[in-house]
Amino acid sequence: MNARQPAPVRLEPLAERRLRALVEQGLPLVPRPWQALAEQCGLPEETVMACMRRWQAEGLVKRLGLVVRHRSLGITANAMVVWDVPDAEVAELGRRLSAEPVVTLCYRRPRRLPDWPYNLFCMIHGTRRERVLAALDEIIEGQALQAMPHRVLFSLKAYRQRGGRYTAEERP
């Protein structure tokens, strides 16, 4: 990180909200993006960067990155694989599945009995169903999960695929 770690910067609540609203629209594509935001807020560049550093330290901002629209790249096979795992084993299996390179998200969620017995959800993305299913078969084989009840729910159609106002990363 930064060698000369400055003291945490607190802005006026109004200024902070304004900065957040601006950053939510995305980082400007100019050589000095923080400077550009700073000018729009009437703040020094250094203050804007310190504020962003604080947001990252506090966990408000997970990282500065991008959201890829996988469908536009032909990654249309999006499988939600759900497992019915005994409660005592779910954390352990969650950790093992999340370590599989093809698994892009992995969460424990509540069962909704009697309709929905599954409590572990993971996502596998790919360009073709057959590949995704083959990858899943390898996981089942490798982790000896043949007896673990599971279902594969491929997505048939995206009716909406965008970040909401408050989050960009969670996917079903």
């Binding site: 950053v23 995305g26 980082l27 594509l29 000095r32 923080w34 400077q35 560049e45 962003m52 550093r53 990252q56 966990g59 408000l60 901002v61 997970k62 990282r63 500065l64 990155g65 991008l66 959201v67 890829v68 629209r69 536009s72 790249l73 990654i75 999006n78 599945l97 999340s98 370590a99 698994v103 892009t104 992995c106 969460y107 424990r108 969620r109 509540p110 909704r112 309709d115 929905w116 959800f121 299913l133 594969v152 729910l153 491929f154 997505s155 048939l156 159609k157 995206a158 009716y159 909406r160 695929q161 970040g163 909401g164 106002r165 408050y166 989050t167 960009a168 990363e169 969670e170 079903p172």
Partner: protein, 165 residues
């Protein structure tokens, strides 16, 4: 194993965008995040042996082509004080269009996918406050006449958040 229905909806999507090798390297690199420095694009460009101008041009093009939907800080919804959940509905086939329009009319719906199960509509809800989730769930039930299966995450198992393109 699941039954495989006809693939019409999937194959009817728009053709895949064309990326060259430098685009792919750029996307894969930026999925790991941008450094918080005064000139972040120049720093990443140097790593990838591109010029800063070329990197900015490529990013602009990828955003315009819709390959990237967003570029910048990724917020942690819960720590922002917001609510977040995954929810599902069992929608009667004949009603699917009507219900998807009703659900998508809510600005709190961030993603909505049709999936192969009796629970056939799956969407993410993101609200400004944690209490907002219950309110939206109730409103969606009222608007659709269907029970919402609300399945908030209880534990996240961290993956290397990286889907190579």
């Amino acid at each position: 194993m699941i039954a495989m229905p006809a693939r019409q909806s999937v194959s009817a999507t728009t053709p895949a965008a064309e990326l060259d090798a430098a685009d792919r390297r750029l996307i894969n690199r930026l999925q790991d995040g941008l450094p918080l420095v005064e000139a972040p694009y120049a720093a990443v460009a140097a790593e990838l042996e591109l010029s800063e101008g070329e990197l900015l041009y490529r990013l602009e093009r990828l955003l315009e082509a819709g390959v990237l939907s967003r570029f910048g800080p990724m917020y942690h919804a819960e720590r922002l004080g917001g609510g977040l959940t995954l929810a599902a509905l069992a929608v009667p086939e004949a009603d699917f269009e009507r219900v998807s329009e009703a659900v998508n009319a809510f600005p709190e719906v961030a993603h909505n996918y049709r999936r192969e199960h009796r629970l056939n509509m799956w969407f993410v809800l993101a609200t400004e406050t944690p209490e907002g989730i219950a309110e939206v769930v109730e409103a969606i039930e009222a608007a659709t006449g269907l029970a919402v299966f609300n399945m908030p995450k209880q534990e996240e198992f961290h993956v290397r958040l990286h889907l190579p393109v």
